[in-house]
Point group: C2
Chain length 126, copies 2
């Protein structure tokens, strides 16, 4: 078996409450400005958006282009390297959708978070 724990690296790259939403926007829409991203992702703060963008940029998933003008303009997009992550995300996506279905079958519609918590309590015998 060639599973050697390195898939954790993917988790590291995707880790953070907002990465999913950011990547979804950028993979779908191509290029977006900072403010555009912020408007597209309700409730995210500038701080969080900046932080998560920097982390993705560090991992070379994102490209950041600064236009030196005032008011400032900064554009974000998926890098060429970052495109290579897409197939992985798509496979995760497929499994994820099937899993939501599976959880419904196991625990019913109301499911997801609510059922999750109470099921945990139940398993724990509370």
């Amino acid at each position: 078996m060639s599973l050697n724990c390195k898939y954790e690296k993917v988790l590291e790259v995707l880790l953070g409450k907002w990465k999913t939403a950011i990547l979804y926007q950028l993979y779908s829409k191509g290029t977006m400005r900072f403010g555009e991203l912020q408007r597209a992702i309700p409730d995210i703060t500038k701080k969080m958006l900046t932080q998560q963008l920097r982390e993705l940029e560090y991992h070379d998933i994102l490209l950041r282009e600064v236009y030196h003008q005032i008011p400032p303009k900064v554009e974000y997009s998926i890098s060429a390297y970052g495109q290579g992550l897409l197939p992985v995300l798509l496979e995760m996506n497929d499994w994820g959708m099937a899993h939501i279905q599976h959880l419904n079958e196991l625990y019913g519609e109301e499911g997801s978070v609510k059922a999750f918590v109470s099921r945990i309590d139940e398993i724990a015998g509370k």
Copy 2:
């Protein structure tokens, strides 16, 4: 594009500091007892181990078999359904290994966490 944010579900399943290690053990070794898992994963506490096992059990990734004897014996293994997660993990694994390599090329060997932090600071202009 069929990326619709559901890959987040995989993250949810894999979320938690110790899930990676637990799954690694169980996918590799098949069936393990509670204490065996604890010994195989240095530094994990019983509390964390129990919690993470329960979460994986909730998601039907794991099977928990209780032998009613004293001292107690409880065996954990990957469920049939959980086997379906393996291809996803393997693909994540492949990308992860390549990514570690990519980060080395970008930032050098000492890299990973240390370089990560300082690079973030650098990008942030500190």
